[in-house]
Symmetry: C2
Subunit: 363 residues, 2 copies
């Protein structure tokens, strides 16, 4: 079974991470500070400096994964029943976080034809109601791989400013960028400094998904003090992994370049491979390690079941994610799948070959 369905990287976690973890030598595994250890918060400040983003120590809390940072963001800025604009397809778990926080997500459907980039300002604005509290973006994006251009980020800035909204920007894939310039962070939008929350995580960056270390960043003091209350209620994020994360940040440039180069190669292999399959429609994703791909089938879920139960090639088959789970609009994405290119080049090529033959057999 070749797994193209989950966002679990196969890249090895850097050894520095494990080394620090294993040299933890306190006698009591105590509660840490609710906002995270200062060393790690400082490491985040330094890390963002390398992207020319200036934040202070007081603008960062450490969270239990990026997941918790998103929940804190919703709970801090929204009241029960508030609405958030979100571009679909989007990361499915935002639905769960929204339910937990009692907020509603208003989907704005993007189009594969333009690589899932934004529609015009006016189109987005037409979705704003008096209940709209904010907007959620993720760039580089899961599940589309799209990176919003600086121009698109300015559209978002304008919308937030004009309508007094808040912007939650999920930037966990920042390094997974195959363009020539870094993605524009929401922290670089000068006119809405007080209205931005960036959620981030070490999970993908250091291939340390099981560490559960994320962070919550805002320059708005009220947001920072309100979110700290939620942090205090749950006491603290895992202690030992925070020290390991400090070490991973310190050494990150030793492994980051080769990891990104590896993913870029995989992306190219995937996109070139897909072009050889009749009826498959894709685009060139600019970042992350996902693509939303149209298949020549009416119901991708049915095709995926076929691959799992009734098909194999040389004793192997491929697992994909049906894309409809990434849309809030009913019926959308039924002929699409999300492909996560988290396999080494030769296995990825093998997976594409199986997909090609599987599609033929399915017809």
């Amino acid at each position: 079974m070749l797994h193209l369905n989950i966002g679990q990287p196969d890249i090895e976690t850097p050894e520095y991470f494990f080394t620090t973890l294993k040299t933890f030598n306190e006698k009591v595994l105590k509660y840490g500070p609710s906002g995270g250890i200062v060393e790690l918060r400082l490491a985040v400040v330094d890390y963002l400096k390398s992207y020319n983003i200036d934040i202070e120590l007081d603008n960062v809390w450490i969270t239990t994964g990026g997941s918790e940072a998103i929940i804190f963001a919703f709970m801090t800025i929204a009241d029960y029943g508030d609405e958030f604009l979100i571009f679909e397809p989007f990361y499915t778990n935002y639905n769960g976080f929204a339910t937990e926080a009692g907020v509603r997500l208003t989907p704005i459907t993007l189009s594969r034809e333009n690589g899932f980039h934004l529609p015009s300002y006016d189109t987005i604005e037409s979705y704003v109601t008096d209940k709209t509290r904010g907007i959620i973006i993720c760039s580089p994006n899961n599940p589309t791989g799209t990176i919003f251009t600086p121009e698109e980020m300015f559209i978002i800035q304008k919308l937030v400013k004009e309508h007094g909204l808040y912007l939650i920007s999920d930037e966990v894939y920042r390094e997974f960028n195959y363009m020539d310039v870094p993605p524009t962070s929401a922290l670089s939008l000068p006119e809405i400094e007080d209205r931005v929350i960036v959620v981030d995580s070490i999970s993908k960056r250091f291939s340390a998904c099981g560490a559960r270390i994320g962070y919550f960043i805002s320059r708005n003091k009220d947001i920072m003090s309100a979110s700290l209350k939620f942090a205090q209620a749950r006491l603290c994020p895992p202690t030992i992994e925070q020290y390991a994360a400090v070490s991973a940040f310190k050494h990150m440039y030793k492994f980051m370049d080769s990891m990104i180069e590896e993913y870029r190669k995989r992306r190219d292999v995937l996109i070139e491979g897909l072009k050889t399959i009749p009826g498959v429609e894709s685009y060139t994703p600019e970042g992350a390690f996902y693509a939303i791909v149209k298949l020549p089938v009416a119901d991708s879920e049915d095709f995926i079941k076929f691959l799992l139960k009734d098909y194999s090639y040389n004793g192997k088959t491929v697992m994909l994610s049906p894309a409809n789970g990434f849309y809030a609009t009913k019926g959308a994405g039924r002929d699409e799948v999300r492909i996560a290119y988290v396999l080494k080049e030769d296995r990825l090529k093998e997976a594409i070959e199986i997909l090609k033959r599987g599609l033929q057999a399915y017809k």
Copy 2:
């Protein structure tokens, strides 16, 4: 500064815990299962068997600390605006969890005069409204140290049954018991098997507060499947600490008895010591490592500030928690403090002496 204000045990985390943590030898620190690793869920099943409590593997999810288990409990059984009965004084962080889940806590005030045991069935029942969804208990209790008797647990059972409520039972201090019989678990109440959620954690039991490993237990299948959705949204609890927790459970009887004996001694030292201070009123807590103590002052917060800023004896002073933070009723507990006896015997004696002299100086 002698800290009697926080529930951070000074007991060393068992070496087995760290050993397992340091021998983790996977190359990639992956996401674990959202409900926790099977090995740890089985360890919890076995652990409860030693208390004659029978549960199945499917009745346990691993959570990120007991904190997350409480949030999952609220979110699973309650709708926005539902009310939960809670006995005050209670663990302050329940307030934060209730806010996050959009539920309201209805306090029922207990009395120090009877060691913070329950009032009659009729008294408790008089607080039930058509909005009441459940009741929260914690036994052995933080902040009172009280363990509810089997008879009191039957009162709770009757209330839950008669009014179709749910019971959230926080049992993180189960081992911290200075009575002759184990505390009655909510899982041992035969008539409300389907209406009980037990939240628990390794934090106090293994002195591993910074590990962030808790668990959520229910025999109700619908509750288990609904809570799994919240677990899936946040992906997984920390991976490595789960393996360490398995090992700690396996070896727990090697260190548990001596730890409990140590706390029992401290409790006796504290209670005997407090009896020598004029105007101080206490009782004999049956479990956990806390007591709510009445001081001969009008405002314990003011006295605590005095101890911190204006008083010292032999260059030392004592830090206490004002008890009013543990009450939801305004003005309640103003002449009380919570004392956490998390210091070794000689330091505890020293702290009591400083408290005694401090009270004299304050007058």
